[in-house]
Symmetry: C2
Amino acid sequence: MTESNKPSLEVCLSPALLHLFDVKNSIVVIIDVLRATSTICTALYNGASRVIPVASVEECVNIGRAIGGITAGERDGRVAEGLVHGNSPFEYPREFVENKTLVLTTTNGTKLLHMAKDAIQIVTGSFPNISAVCDYLIAQNQNVILGCAAWKDRVNMEDTLFAGAVVNRIKAHFDVNCDSAIAAETLYETAKGDIYTFMTQASHYKRLAQYGLEKDIHYCLTPDGANVLPLFKDGELIAG
Amino acid sequence: MTESNKPSLEVCLSPALLHLFDVKNSIVVIIDVLRATSTICTALYNGASRVIPVASVEECVNIGRAIGGITAGERDGRVAEGLVHGNSPFEYPREFVENKTLVLTTTNGTKLLHMAKDAIQIVTGSFPNISAVCDYLIAQNQNVILGCAAWKDRVNMEDTLFAGAVVNRIKAHFDVNCDSAIAAETLYETAKGDIYTFMTQASHYKRLAQYGLEKDIHYCLTPDGANVLPLFKDGELIAG
C-alpha cells in the first residue's frame, strides 16, 4: 500500500522488466492479447474445464496424452508439429471445448506466467474479458501489476494498449505512480476510437495479417466477447 | 538495412532491453532528458572542451583531480559527497565552463552509454539539442537506436517523449517497424501541445519538483537551447 492508502497499479511492458516490480506482493495480470490470453478466456467461457499453459511443444504433447486433453499451440503462425490445434480463439467453440482440458503452449505468455509464479494471484487478461478482469482487480484491493507478455521481450502495441485500457477503467481505485501505466493509458486514449486501425501500424498485426488472421485480431481487440476470469491455480487456469 | 532500403529506426525504452537490439550495426542515441544529456549538450554548447561521463563518484573525483576538470554529479537530488557541482544545466554557463573539462557522473545515462560501446557511433540527445541530433541522424543514413536511459531500468516518461519527438521528426527517412517507436511517437503527439503540463504526471517530475527544480525541467523540455551534437569518442563527449 502507498501513502494514499490505495493499492498501487503498475504496468510492466516486457517480461525482461518484471524483476523491477514487487511481484510477491501483487496480483499479476498476464496479458498476451494476440492471441494466447484471448484464446484462454474464450475456451473457459465456452465451458472448457481448465486450460493448462505449458512452455514447450514436447510438454504439451506429453501432458495432452496423459490426461486426454486438446493439445494446441503455434510456432511461426502454424500449428506446431505434434499438436492438433492452433492459437485462434475461433477453434474453441462450446461444442468442441466444453468439459475438456485445453493444453496450450505459447512462447511469450507462458514464459511470463512462470516468471510471476510468486504473485499473490495470477490471472490472465485480454479485451474479450476486460470487464471480468477490471471487476476482479477493483474487488481485491491489492497491488496490481499488469504484465505484458510482449514479443520475445520486445514491447508490443497490443499488450500495451490492453494494459492502458485497464488503467483507464480502474485507476480511480489505485495509486498510479508508474510512467509506463500513464504512457499505456495515453496510448489507449489515442487508439480507442478505432483500435483496429491503430493496430494496423503494429508489428504483430503485420505478422498475423500475412497469415490471414484479421478476423482473429478483430475479435481479440473487442471487449467482453468471453467475459470470464481465468485464475491460475496449481498449474492450471480455471474460470473464477 | 531493411527491405525498404531505408535504415531502421527503433526505440529502446530501458537499458534492460538493450540486448534485444542490434547495437553493433546502429548509431545509438543516449537519452537522459532529466538531466544528464541536457546538461552535457549545454556544457559543450557553452564551450566546454569535453565532457567525460563516468559511472561512480570515486572515478569522478580521481579523473577530475588528475586532469584538473570540473567534477559534477548528484545522488538523490544533491551534489554527491566529494564532488563540487550538480546536474543542473544552469550550473554550466559559458563564463564558467568554456575550455574546461566536465567530469560528470550520472547513474542511468552513463550505464547505458557503456552498454552501447560497440555501436557504430554513440551520441547524446535531449530536447535542448534535438535539431542537431535529428540533422545528424538523417545525414548518416545508418540504422538508429534511440536508447532511453530510464530510471533504474524503469521506463520513464521524459526519455520516451524525447524518443517520440525524434521519431516524429525523422521517420520519413527511416523504416519504423518497432512498436516502441510508434508508441513513443503517439505519446509525444499527445503531449507536444503542452509537454510541461503533460510531464507533471510523471514520476521523475515529482522527484525533481520536490527539490525546486521546475526551472531545470522547463529548460530540459524546450527544443534547441543548446543545439550542438555530443559525439562519444575515446571515452569523451565532444561537440561534433
